[in-house]
């Protein structure tokens, strides 16, 4: 068993994949806690799909992929923000997300190795993480975690009760934009490891699992990070041994843990009321 676990780590690409998986599993779960508590999962999914054209343009022009992805992510967030002044919010998200995704696929289809590259962008390629990718993922994840910790109490307050945040004169719209920005950066950091099609699962499922077990935001984040890292590492091995894309492998583990906890947590938490 230990041989089965350790043997792959003798390959440098596998070791890089492990580091990337751990970071992405943790940062997605921590930021995903806000996504779950604020009901932003559709927005997160849309943002992830909408970065594809940015990735495609950067890929074709041989720019750093993360730069293109980040630019597209911020552009999509701004577009959704503007459109929801004209149509309903979920409609705005649906339009931007599908339009941008289609543009990304159309751009990538002009490349000769189209199917291979598209699969990597959509579903992740954790075994192909280069040293440069690893540095980018580390910087982005570290930055997101740092900001999330630094503004934790303000972000919790504005998520739980924006009215009190306004009464206390906190800059509520600035905090909302900070959260959207952090979400975009997290998606970009996860691109290589899980891909754009499934990153929402890494954002939503581990915090949802933790939500079934604990009743405070801090412990929920910690437990979610644990589930996220566990799923990401298990998915890495699944990808290595079963030769499947890393994104689906990780998400399947995530979903499995959620279902297990769902089955067993109901008894542990009866609805209690104070007399």
């Amino acid at each position: 068993m230990t041989g089965w676990l350790l043997e792959p780590l003798t390959y440098p690409f596998m070791l890089r994949g492990l580091f990337a998986a751990v970071m992405v599993g943790a940062v997605c779960a921590v930021l995903g806690t806000y996504v779950v508590l604020r009901g932003m999962s559709f927005f997160g999914d849309a943002l992830a799909h909408a970065i594809l054209p940015g990735v495609a343009v950067a890929y074709l022009a041989r720019w750093p992929l993360s730069a293109g992805a980040l630019a597209a992510g911020l552009l999509a967030a701004a577009a959704i923000g503007y459109l929801q002044t004209r149509v309903r919010e979920d409609t705005a998200i649906g339009i931007v997300f599908s339009g941008a995704f289609a543009l990304g696929i159309a751009l990538l289809s002009t490349v000769r190795t189209y199917t291979v590259d598209l699969t990597h962008f959509l579903f992740g390629n954790v075994l192909g993480v280069s040293p440069a990718d690893l540095v980018v993922t580390a910087v982005l994840s570290g930055g997101v975690l740092l900001l999330t910790v630094a503004f934790h109490k303000e972000l919790v307050l504005v998520s739980f009760d924006p009215v009190l945040a306004t009464v206390l004169r906190l800059p509520t719209s600035l905090l909302r934009y900070l959260l959207l920005f952090l979400l975009a950066v997290t998606v970009v950091a996860s691109l290589q490891v899980v891909g754009v099609a499934l990153v929402v699962a890494m954002l939503v499922t581990p915090p949802a699992t933790a939500y079934l077990l604990v009743r405070r935001v801090g412990p929920m984040m910690g437990l979610a990070a644990l589930f996220g890292v566990l799923s990401a590492v298990a998915g890495l091995y699944g990808s290595y041994y079963l030769n499947i894309p890393s994104g689906p492998a990780m998400v399947l583990v995530c979903t499995g843990i959620f279902l297990l906890v769902l089955l067993f947590s109901r008894r542990a938490r009866p609805p209690r009321r104070v007399p």
């Binding site: 739980f160 009760d161 009190l164 004169r169 906190l170 009743r215 405070r216």
Partner: protein, 266 residues
């Protein structure tokens, strides 16, 4: 030498305030002032603009015209400390927070950016919870409280702000007897601490018994003054119109101090 008797200072001044809400004029030309330590009941029927007035005072709704001054400051521009207890239906009870977490949120502005709660903050939270009688439940998830306990938790949060002006929007709506008792006791202690309280209610008897002054509201100020003056048949007729016979019959006697019809409270 004679001691200087402190002149009650003006805590709140509302001048010609007009506020639109959902595209219609909810408040027109509202003017009144409140002195330090006073207890003011804001009364009127549903849709009279009680909640809108509070939202405008704390800076949640921008005025169309007129202005609000709290301690001589404009709450829309400057950081002034007002404790605000909104109506309870706005609360997300599925959010994973404990009662203590909720009350600590009232301290966020005191704590400041990039800082953690100090001993002073934790002390303020503990005191606030004691004042509303929830000290035992500090570690209880919010979703496990009764409606009245949730109301008390949110009052504790406003107390933790240590604001000298407190606005409470229908704090007795849907509250159990124990919580009602706790809130009434708390209001008496706040008076001793010279905290100024504005309390919105549709309960005329409560307003008459409890307050120093009554603001009778119906889109505009109908009357403002001591309960006996503000809640007279003439002003009540202007607000409640055809329903007045009912009010005069059941409640009018109470306003005149007749205890026979004391319909429930205290």
């Amino acid at each position: 030498m004679e001691e200087n008797i402190p002149v009650p200072c003006e805590v709140l001044r509302v001048e010609n305030l007009t506020v639109a809400y959902n595209g219609r004029m909810a408040l027109r030309d509202v003017t009144f002032t409140v002195l330090g330590g006073e207890r003011v009941a804001v009364v009127g029927p549903n849709g009279a603009g009680k909640s809108t007035l509070f939202k405008a005072i704390v800076g949640l709704l921008p005025p169309e015209s007129g202005r609000v001054e709290v301690f001589g400051c404009n709450p829309h521009q400057e950081r002034v400390s007002i404790g605000y207890v909104p109506q309870r239906e706005d609360v997300d009870l599925t959010f994973p927070v404990t009662v203590g977490d909720v009350v600590m949120m009232g301290r966020v502005a005191h704590i400041g950016w990039l800082r953690r709660p100090s001993r002073r903050d934790r002390e303020a939270v503990r005191r606030a919870l004691e004042q509303v009688g929830l000290a035992e439940l500090a570690n209880r998830p919010l979703g496990e409280l009764s409606g009245g306990q949730v109301q008390r938790a949110f009052i504790a949060r406003a107390l933790a702000q240590e604001a000298p002006l407190l606005l409470m929007d229908e704090p007795f709506a849907g509250v159990d007897a124990a919580s009602e008792e706790a809130i009434l006791g708390l209001l008496d202690r706040l008076r001793e601490q010279r905290v100024t309280v504005l309390l919105a209610t549709h309960d005329l008897q409560m307003a008459a018994e409890w307050s120093d002054r009554v603001l009778l509201l119906n889109g505009e100020v109908i009357a403002y003054g001591p309960p006996g003056d503000a809640l007279c048949p003439a002003t009540l007729r202007r607000v409640y119109g055809g329903q007045l016979t009912v009010w005069e019959h059941e409640r009018g006697a109470i306003l005149l101090g007749d205890g026979h019809c004391s319909g429930g409270r205290r």
